[in-house]
Symmetry: C2
Subunit: 406 residues, 2 copies
Amino acid sequence: MKTKHIEGGVCVAKGFKAYGVHCGIRKNQSKQDLALLFSEVNCAAAGVYTQNKVKGAPIGVTQAHIADGHAKAVICNSGIANTCSADGVEKAETMCNLTADALGIGPEDVIVASTGVIGFPIPIGNIKAGMPSLSAGLSENGNGDFAQAIMTTDTVVKEAAVSCTIGGKACHIGGTAKGSGMIHPNMATMLCFLTTDVNITPAMLQKALSAVVEDTFNMVSIDGDTSTNDMVSILASGLAGNPVIDTEEEDWDDFSDALYEVMERLSKMIAADGEGATKLLECAVTGAPDKATAKSLAKSVITSSLVKTAMFGADANWGRILCALGYAQAEFDITKLNVSLCSQKGAVEVCKNGTGISFDEDIAKEILLEDAVVIAVELGQGEASATAWGCDLTYDYVKINGDYRT
Amino acid sequence: MKTKHIEGGVCVAKGFKAYGVHCGIRKNQSKQDLALLFSEVNCAAAGVYTQNKVKGAPIGVTQAHIADGHAKAVICNSGIANTCSADGVEKAETMCNLTADALGIGPEDVIVASTGVIGFPIPIGNIKAGMPSLSAGLSENGNGDFAQAIMTTDTVVKEAAVSCTIGGKACHIGGTAKGSGMIHPNMATMLCFLTTDVNITPAMLQKALSAVVEDTFNMVSIDGDTSTNDMVSILASGLAGNPVIDTEEEDWDDFSDALYEVMERLSKMIAADGEGATKLLECAVTGAPDKATAKSLAKSVITSSLVKTAMFGADANWGRILCALGYAQAEFDITKLNVSLCSQKGAVEVCKNGTGISFDEDIAKEILLEDAVVIAVELGQGEASATAWGCDLTYDYVKINGDYRT
């Protein structure tokens, strides 16, 4: 199946409108902080959530609301996480009620999410006051405002979309994500909202989403901290008119492949926009005996503070890569592995059969100074592979997080 | 049993001499880089080693040499780790041979260790050239030179010692450690050399060392990176003349308690001297259902980059502490836990029953500006407790590691 990357985000699929406003949760009046997504058609809905045992209140409310496999709207605020604060669940439900009233739907059809500082109460008054202009502004071109309104320390909007043909019909999948710090997803990710007009059952939608999350968002780490509010949700309007996807056959594979393309791009955008990051790091492990080994090794390298600082300094200190491979929870034979550092400037092999080899440090430096660097690890022990994404660790990460609240 | 903290390091126990010289592995001529410890009496010996699958060559050589439970000397260089480089094992063995020749002992009685950059060959010529002055300089006051010579990015010498009475005899335990980055010990630690004059069998010595490592060095994290060369070793000369400790009875308990005191102090010294650190962090978890849960939670908090940067900024952003507790591999009830921040300036409770409570931010800031801060987590779910040590994450960590090799 051929997919085509297209412009846009949550509004590329038929049936979706979105918008975002500033309602006053954040002090900066030019920063939108309340986002709304709406489909008049009832959608198949699926979600994947944080595995952190300390969970934001919206997580449980959303899980309850899409337990029936359907939803029509998403309400999301940034600035405050609605986590570890009194009456959090009640306030998350109030957010759904306010949204439902504004849209003339049931509150059980609303997905709710919050992102920001932990431990402070959500100012419901601001959300109530912002709701009329938010719902009035809904449009098929509102994806950019929606994407802006869910951002926290993100420095760029993160949107991705594809068009494809499934069951003979033109289909679309689009999404937006936010996330820059506290990013080390575990079976979930930072906030990501996806929409599609594909006709698919809730069960098959959930299956595709869960599988793709494993290979995309769950392979990203900015700082090793798994957030309390991570959530990926997807709404499928069915308006593409393809024969309903209700089994794991060819159409489901096509849909999963197309979904992967959108989610992989969003994952890389999150990694590249990591707090304080100057470059996107990718660790590509090949030749592994099995996929679990490849994933464990790739993620261990991408998470290492010492690898991350070396990449910031454009220092080809490959011993730190070997060290991070060595403490991963995986079994492998070090004497067979090779490591190369690659970017658009070229590639240089730095380690062969587990031992250092001589290489041109100047060429290595030139390669590492690029803003996208690939650490390629060839294990030579099988056919499995995996890729993980992250970023360098810089002075600005410390600056941003040394006093985030003030 | 009463222990008394005393001055000194590896030479406080009867029978040990030490020294350190600059042999040219490091460019800086004022930095010693080769250390030697020697006991004329044959010692009971025990060791605990890194669990990293990529291991420094000296690890295996040392394991083989103390397999018989005895040793007489330690040779250790800093600057180059002798890891992932060709002929590493042969070179580690050569280091033992050179040491054995200089001391008139067998090479199988030598413990060898290396610490520094991964992937470069050990310059055996320098070690050979330095050996005469190194062995000639051995003295009972050489502990400071020994401690200096094993340091890498450490900024302070780390020594600790106690005297105590075991089996009616005056006994001594002393040690020195190094470690500042790549510190997240797993069943081992950075380099630490301990000596004692206690009379104890190798088996009981190993049992005490392994148990104490679990609660001390294995509860330290600077940056989440488990080194390839971690090693703790202990030599017991037996010259205190106490009845031999060969069972887990009272004398063994007394020895283990005294050993704990030395190793806890060294662990805290390593944490406080973490690369770029401005303060020592301690996470004390109490009221846990079992010890494994307490350890997992304490270590998760101390390892979080977001907690570490907040502490650098003296920002009482306790939500990050809850977040780190939540993603630990442990089960607990969030609604029962309380969190306080403490230092010599006082204590402030910031979270009660899993929910934020109002507190004076100015007082919290004053507490967090101290150079030793305790994060106290009371689970209210049992009697078990654990403590982990670490440090803040600062600009200087990034600076030190952005270009460590040059």
